[in-house]
């Protein structure tokens, strides 16, 4: 095995330098990657190792222009993510990667961009916002349509509003269940897509969220006339090796750690209705 191949297996230790509590069960942590900068494409993921607990795939949610600052937003949902969410600045995590495919930020140039994200699915598209903002003049209208369960579950709300103001993004937020703090739209995220006044023939749509949400989003996008080859989604499966060897993330003919997580709808569509995949 070559040294380069060995590196794919070996976690690089990186210290946690900051931690932001985003919601009750979700945090954003920044790792100091100055010694091993992680140059990534928006949409790629790393394998994060909580020593003594295990390793999980987490999408990178930071700015691709700053490979020395590796940012992840993590929701506590299990045996490894629970300790990851509990880390504090000064502690060290292991990092492998980046792995996988990215969002088509270059292919989307000269047209409109529609990002539809729900829940923790906002994290893997956050680097897209940075990339679009860095070259805003290359894109026409940018729509950012975000859904969450409740107002308290909305990620990056202030940052999104700053981005929208500074870079002219058309930001729309909705929640499934409102509370007294919320006087915005109430309803599912697909409704934002119905109401968005974009030109489907000039749009590239990127969606990330629970699989069933993406299924409804794609259905609405197709109904509005967005071509299947301009619709991209991020699939999630149980990545283990992250280099296409172990097969844990197999989805039909794909190993999602290699040919995903980001893929085009016309590549993914035939498997969406196959139970058990």
């Amino acid at each position: 095995m070559t040294a380069a191949a060995l590196d794919l297996w070996r976690p690089v230790p990186m210290p946690v330098v900051s931690k932001v509590q985003e919601t009750a069960d979700t945090v954003t942590i920044e790792l100091d990657a100055r010694d091993s900068p992680v140059r990534f494409a928006p949409g790629q993921f790393t394998m994060l190792y909580a020593f003594g607990h295990g390793e999980v795939p987490i999408s990178i949610s930071g700015d691709p222009a700053h490979p020395e600052r590796l940012v992840h937003t993590i929701r506590a949902v299990g045996r490894v993510t629970n300790p990851l969410v509990a880390v504090e600045p000064g502690q060290v995590l292991g990092v492998r990667g980046p792995f996988g495919t990215g969002w088509p930020v270059h292919d989307a140039e000269d047209g409109e961009v529609v990002v539809v994200a729900g829940g923790i699915g906002l994290a893997p598209v956050r680097p897209v916002f940075h990339a679009l903002a860095a070259h805003r003049e290359r894109y026409e209208r940018v729509w950012v349509l975000v859904g969450a369960r409740t107002p308290a579950d909305l990620l990056y709300r202030e940052e999104l509003e700053r981005f929208a103001g500074a870079h002219g993004f058309d930001l729309r937020l909705t929640v499934d269940h409102a509370d007294d703090t919320w006087d915005g739209p109430v309803g599912v995220v697909t409704r934002l897509l119905e109401a968005a006044d974009f030109d489907p023939s000039r749009a590239t749509l990127m969606t990330c969220g629970p699989e069933i949400m993406m299924r409804f989003v794609v259905r609405e996008a197709l109904r509005q006339g967005v071509p299947a080859e301009k619709i991209w989604l991020s699939m999630e499966r149980n990545m283990k090796c992250a280099i296409g060897l172990c097969g844990h993330c197999q989805w039909g003919a794909d190993f999602l750690c290699r040919t995903g997580p980001v893929m085009r709808w016309d590549h993914a569509m035939h498997r969406f209705d196959v139970g058990g995949l």
Binding site: D25, V77, G78, G118, G119, G147, A148, R149, D153, D176, H177, A178, D183, G184, P185, V186, G187, V188, T190, R191, E194, A195, G209, P210, I212, M213, F216
Partner: protein, 147 residues
Amino acid sequence: MSDLANALGAHPFLAGLSDVHLAEIAACASDVRFTSGQVVAKEGRPADATYILRKGRVALKAGPHVVETVEDDEVLGWSWLFDGVWHVDAVAVGEVDAIRLDGALLDAAMHRDATLGHALSRRILLLVHRRLERARLRSLDVFGVAR
């Protein structure tokens, strides 16, 4: 065409209807404005109108809970066509500009002109269909805790 007919024809709900049909609908229509917090409809009361929202937001409420909001360019209320009572409270969130279509007048117009009746029924069914789709997605509670 009248200003009202033009405004109706520009709304997504009625876009594409003929001038004749728009004139028939305009004869049932009036401009309305609601202030923030004003009750547009009350659960259990007779449902006698459809509101074509031009600007603003209306919260559909079941008791204290907001079930959904209806926004710019959307439509509120079709119960006059079915059982004739409102099934939710509807409350303006901020200023709301709308066109009110009188249910009884519109029902009569739809009976007089079967082509209008067919065209409007299809559009109302589409609204119900889309609302049902959204309700299905929402019932899945897709953002619930994945444990």
